[in-house]
Symmetry: C2
Subunit: 207 residues, 2 copies
């Protein structure tokens, strides 16, 4: 019978993911042991490691699903006629709120996303890729409207804004920014600086 094996594998993997969604949601990532996860999924501990390469790999898989939802939801909430800066702020604050809903969870996820171990590289890149897709349309549109330079690759522009978001997130985790409002303000300021440039206007004209 072709596919019995494959089907069972899918089921097992789904059971693990379901257990992860439940337990991570209930008690958070750090407080969920692999043993508990295995118990909840109805499999042995070792089985988990034939579907995921490490505990953080499960976190990444979990987040990939959750974030896909989030981004879909987000795509519909972006007002078409808003300014570029407003759109960016909306996206990043949405992301910020999700990531920091559970502080420990968010920290572990970001650590794995930004400084991934060799084993987790692939998944972290997929998530990032997904996130970047959100921006491509927005940036293309902005370029067409003449609100963004056309001589810069979109991935560069993306990277630039994402870097600033990271900085703000880090500042929040370090306690230099305390509230959501602080983060929003910091982002707003940094974004407009990035757009206009850090050089004085007189200097820019020279080049």
């Amino acid at each position: 019978m072709a596919g019995l094996r494959e089907q069972k594998k899918q089921e097992t993997k789904a059971a693990i993911m379901d257990a992860a969604i439940t337990l991570f949601g209930e008690r958070g990532y750090e407080n969920t042991s692999i043993a508990a996860l295995a118990r909840a999924a109805g499999v042995g501990k070792g089985t988990i490691y034939s579907y995921f390469s490490s505990k953080s790999d499960i976190l990444l898989a979990f987040s990939e699903e959750e974030l896909a939802c989030l981004h879909l939801e987000l795509q519909q909430k972006i007002p078409v006629n808003a300014l570029l800066e407003e759109k960016l702020l909306l996206i990043f604050m949405y992301e910020f709120r999700y990531i920091t809903k559970n502080k420990e969870f968010g920290r572990t996820l970001m650590r794995e996303m930004i400084f991934p171990k060799a084993l987790a590289r692939e998944k972290s890149q997929e998530i990032e890729e997904q996130f970047i897709q959100l921006f491509v349309l927005i940036f293309k549109e902005a370029q067409e409207k003449g609100q963004l330079r056309q001589d810069i690759e979109l991935t560069m522009t993306c990277g630039h804004f994402y870097a600033l978001y990271l900085m703000a997130l880090s500042a929040w985790y370090s306690g230099r920014l305390l509230s959501e409002e602080d983060v929003r303000n910091a982002l707003q300021v940094m974004f407009s600086q990035a757009l206009v440039g850090l050089k004085p206007k007189s200097e820019i004209e020279k080049s």
Copy 2:
């Protein structure tokens, strides 16, 4: 006899730090267990935890010392008359080379620096503070020479460039940038974009 106790405490702490410098240097952070550290320092395992709050706390203390050296060395290597962009590139590439000399070590350090746990916050901020001091003089000078806007706080400017450095570092850890040269080039491009701005010139003039 006043201070015997205090003196011994200093000695014990120094012994732990020395052991850390030796063992982390020899086998790296991940391959050094607390038990081994305790053995090398000639103390019990528990003792280490009355001087440091966690393993990563030791890493941070270790790095604080090492980086202080590095930054002192660096301060003398910065050519006075170089362009702002060249100076920045020099500093960040120096830092990059140090951090990535041992990949695992650097990853753990950066994870702890950028997304610190509550316990390690203080030390990670001190290291960052130390790093920022490197820039203050350079930026002040640049402002005086009219190469940087004066209506932006220096800490903001710092944060902006540091964010871009982080992005490059992350890209290296994710495998999107492969060599030191790639990182240098990426930084160079992003820095000049940050200085000139991401908006087209025509748009900037309007504001």
